[in-house]
């Protein structure tokens, strides 16, 4: 769908205890774009993602995913086209086996068992976890859980992938696998993360949040070279761009 555009207009969101988390967010993302959302803890990254996935409803403003504004009526469609991968895979893998978890979405969509099975195996193949299909989730390693969590969302064939800290807690090998995976996707990708080196590898565009507002939005490399913005948002350059400890450049 080449016209599939994500649009936010003046989105505001406050928690039930009145804390303001998002204070007027606007941006536009086109189909296939790979966008990073970065900022200090508490800047509103996770909250923004939850709003995009339809988990929270903005108190003000509008969010549009493709042809549909997010509201009660369109929620079912939104959930089908937006796949959200949570920070903690244990929250996402709640079924007795990997197969059950990856099949959960398609079964809820009402697909027949044969097609469900096809989708499950395809999704697991994509993330390289096909051999884990009958394992219970508590027997998976951190990297495996992360891969399977992604598969649970892929099996619904979403247009948009939203991910919250995809590389957190992973060993270097597992992390590299996740990065490779994300690079291979055609979906629109929106990734909230502290891992700026992952951003450099995966995302062409970066949006910087600070205190619930967008303070910068542009090509990733521009943002990383903008010392003022990084300082204001409590961040540093990605490690690969910081001085080389050997030759001191």
């Amino acid at each position: 769908m080449s016209h599939h555009i994500i649009e936010l207009k003046d989105v505001e969101y406050a928690y039930p205890d009145q804390t303001e988390a998002l204070r007027g967010i606007s941006f536009r993302i086109v189909h296939g774009e790979s966008v990073a959302i970065i900022g200090a803890n508490g800047a509103g990254k996770s909250t923004l993602l939850s709003n995009l996935a339809g988990i929270y409803t903005p108190s003000k403003g509008m969010i549009r995913i493709g042809d549909y504004p997010i509201n009660k009526q369109t929620l079912t469609h939104i959930r089908r086209s937006v796949g959200m991968v949570f920070q903690n895979p244990d929250d996402q893998l709640f079924m007795p086996t990997v197969f059950d978890d990856v099949a959960f979405g398609p079964l809820n969509l009402g697909l027949p068992p044969e097609e469900v099975k096809q989708r499950v195996m395809a999704a697991l193949e994509t993330v390289g976890a096909a051999q884990l299909v009958h394992r219970p989730p508590y027997k998976l390693s951190g990297g495996q859980k992360r891969a399977v969590a992604i598969a649970t969302v892929l099996s619904m064939l979403p247009d948009v992938l939203i991910m919250d800290e995809p590389s957190a807690g992973l060993d270097p090998f597992a992390r590299r696998q996740v990065i490779n995976l994300l690079q291979s996707f055609d979906h629109t990708r929106i990734i909230a993360t502290h891992d700026l080196d992952l951003v450099a590898d995966v995302c062409t565009r970066t949006i910087v949040l600070a205190e619930g507002q967008v303070i910068a939005d542009g090509p990733t490399l521009h943002i990383f070279n903008d010392a003022a913005v990084l300082a204001k948002s409590g961040l540093e350059k990605p490690l690969r761009m910081q001085g080389c400890p050997v030759c001191n450049s």
Partner: protein, 270 residues
């Protein structure tokens, strides 16, 4: 504290056993469940003074252990660990029932002792049967069997969820207790005052976790119904297994085989 670690290890141990392969493991889960339940019911139906007649029932666990290649170490350990409470009640039998029931050669034995021994035998048989069920079948398949037998889906789903998150929560509890005991002077148990907030915090974390899980479910289209797809083929071998054991149990219940055997061996029948 050690109790938690032991339980956790046992949980994983029996979990692991269920994934092995053997003739018993491949049997249809409903068959195994039914056989176990009938076994336990028939063991319980013996009269309270029965000892010899019960013995042939041991064929079932022994055969399952053999065919299923189940190591008996952990099973024996479990039996011994759970024995005390039964002994505590059962010990009153020899104390209260002193009427001489039977005479073995020159030795008189009271009814109380007979029923006490019978209790221990029954206990061993039923506990071992239950453990063999989980060791050869696994909670997942057992829930499938329960579903087949008509248990409401809400209940089956609930059991699966509890089991799934048991591992997570036990680890969380273990970590919290460890952190606590590293900073507290006494060595056993949590001080009563700290208990409320310790458990309270764990509870709040659990509630928050449940909320996040719910959100994850919603994102994947959850509509109130948890759908699980499973199928096992019922083969002739499965049915034969069930019928054969059923017949055996009924025969054992009706005839005191050891009595016959012993009498024959001692030349009682000319």
């Amino acid at each position: 504290m050690n109790k938690i670690e032991h339980r956790w290890l046992e949980l994983r141990y029996f979990d692991e056993l269920a994934t092995r392969e053997s003739v018993i493991h491949t049997l249809h889960p409903t068959i195994k469940l039914l056989t176990t339940l009938v076994f336990i019911a028939i063991v319980a139906s013996f009269s309270k003074y029965e000892i010899a007649g019960l013995i042939p029932m041991f064929f079932y666990p022994f055969l399952v252990i053999g065919l299923g290649n189940i190591p008996i170490g952990m099973i024996i350990k479990r039996v011994l660990l759970t024995l005390p409470f039964v002994l505590f009640i059962g010990i009153f039998n020899p104390l209260l029932d002193q009427a001489i029931l039977v005479q073995i050669g020159p030795v008189p034995i009271s009814g109380g002792i007979v029923s006490f021994v019978s209790i221990i035998i029954r206990f061993t048989l039923s506990v071992v049967a239950a453990l063999l069920l989980i060791a050869t079948t696994g909670i997942d398949a057992i829930c499938g069997a329960l579903s087949n037998l008509g248990v409401p889906r809400v209940v089956v789903t609930q059991i699966l969820f509890v089991y799934r998150y048991l591992h997570v929560l036990i680890e969380e509890v273990m970590k919290t207790i460890r952190a606590y005991s590293l900073r507290s002077p006494q060595s056993d148990g949590v001080a009563f005052k700290a208990w409320g907030s310790l458990v309270g915090l764990l509870l709040l974390r659990a509630i928050d976790r449940a909320q996040r899980i719910y959100q994850a479910m919603l994102c994947r289209g959850f509509d109130g119904e948890v759908r699980i797809v499973r199928s096992w083929q019922l083969s002739k071998g499965d049915i034969a297994f069930l019928l054969a054991w059923l017949s055996f149990f009924i025969i054992v219940r009706s005839i005191n085989i050891p009595e016959w055997l012993g009498t024959a061996l001692l030349g009682g029948y000319k």
